[in-house]
Amino acid sequence: MIYREAGQFKASYEEDQQIFPIKQDRIVMAALVAAAFFVAPFVASEYWLQAVLTPVLVFALAALGLNILTGYAGQLSLGTGAFMAVGAYATYNFLLRLDGLPFLVGLVLGGLSAAAVGVVFGLPSLRIKGFYLAMATLAAQFFIVWALAKFPWFSNYSSSGIITAQRIEIFGFAFDTPARKYLLTLAIVSLLALVAKNLARTNTGRSWMAVRDMDVAAEVIGIPLMKTKLLAFAVSSFYCGIAGGLYAYTYLGTVEPDGFGLDLSFKILFMIIIGGMGSVLGAFLGAAFILLLPVGLNVLMHTSVGALVPATLASNLELIVFGVLIIFFLIVEPHGLTRLWQIGKEKLRLWPFPH
């Protein structure tokens, strides 16, 4: 009885085009964001902030980036990890080599570097589609990780390409505790999520989806394929680049090229499959799900249920569960958790009189 849109009439198209046209949604969302900013940093333990909440946000951002390219624009990428690596290493080098460069500027420059690399590896999308394009992104994945490990300049001549993030300082304020790093991550991710939503609901997003759903028809109604696809690659890689920067600076602190391998790319792909393709919310749900699942499994393995599972199987349970879930979601609900969420809301809207 609480979740109702009765009586909420839209008097203008402006009101109808809001991100959350239903009032209750707006209230819940505002409460969530407020809680994330003002409650979580004080309530959550350091462990939770550092090892759960911050990575969920960082991965959600990367998943958002992949979702722009794959979910909205329909171009499958297996190179997400590499674009994150470009963001991390570029940010590191900008901050290292340009004295007094503000952190945020360095981060944005890192994102822009990733965008530029993304466009280069997106160029084949003008001639090739589908699997073949996925292979092109695999080329990016292997080449970039190899280059970062092989050319010591990128890591300032540290051993095996490891970089250690510099101290983050913005206007003289140091972001040096887990709570502060979490807040910084949250602010950046929230902002970029809003931007993604705006892109998705305007002409830019419609052009992406049109190219995804039927490229010939999109071209016939005047959508320039090349520009649209490359823009998707650029924006997506920018997001991944920023996510990579945050991965190094607010989450891990120390990263190496191999940490951005194919497994990372697959992990993020799984997030959007399970969270929901072509949805901003899906990126967050997927990231939370994929990161919390191993934690949940681990807890389960330490209970009496876990004692029944042989040790060799237990250590591989994560792989098995991921595999099964991916197949399950692709078969049963290709729009992922987001769609389940929407179905839940529809039911609630009509409850208790579903007819």
Partner: protein, 260 residues
Amino acid sequence: MARVIGDVILDLQNISLSFGGVKALTNISFDVREGEIRAIIGPNGAGKSSMLNVINGVYHPQQGRIVFRGQERRRMNPHEAAAQGIARTFQNIALFKGMTVLDNIMTGRNLMMRRNFLWNALYWGPSRREEIAHRKRVEEIIDFLEIQNIRKTPVGRLPYGLQKRVELARALAAEPSLLLLDEPMAGMNVEEKQDMCRFILDVNEQLGTTIVLIEHDMGVVMDISDRVVVLDYGRKIGDGPPDEVRNDPVVIEAYLGAGH
């Protein structure tokens, strides 16, 4: 508003098109006048769809000239054709299946939207005003085609007849001067066909849009078109007002078969 048939706006001269040695169109010439409804008919495989694809640049003919609004061209891509005011629908519906009806129609206005992605990222000021302004125009088309109640429905869930209508709406959203319709009534029941006929005539009369259409239903073609081109095996075998074409022995022979 009375219908005014104006000058020639599209002139096709000696068009030939082949795919790896297979001839799809051979030396075809015809013209389209401003404000008229021009039909292309012919048996299956006669090259009708190929003809439309040539007009809006999906296929590039090996020979021939195309003059559209005084500008001559040998080839152009679909994107340029759209920019010059040519819109179309497809034989097998080519809607964007994952998007709502409203979004599908809004894509039709993409060429008129000037704000780039940086403005859109902010969805503020000019970008928001532009979205709203185009939404208003799209709502007019939605009213015109009587699809108000489905505007937020993903097109993949709509029945066939309605999808055809949404596709027409998307083409109209571009405010084209030349509208190409590839079998707009294929697979429809009588009632849906009547609706579609009415919409096509309304578009032509009220908006003054020039229409080139391919249709198999002879009754419909003879009723609504001003002039008819008949194709057979990629060649033009007839051209003229419906009555004339209907009584042309060559056309009867080819189209209806010797038995008639």
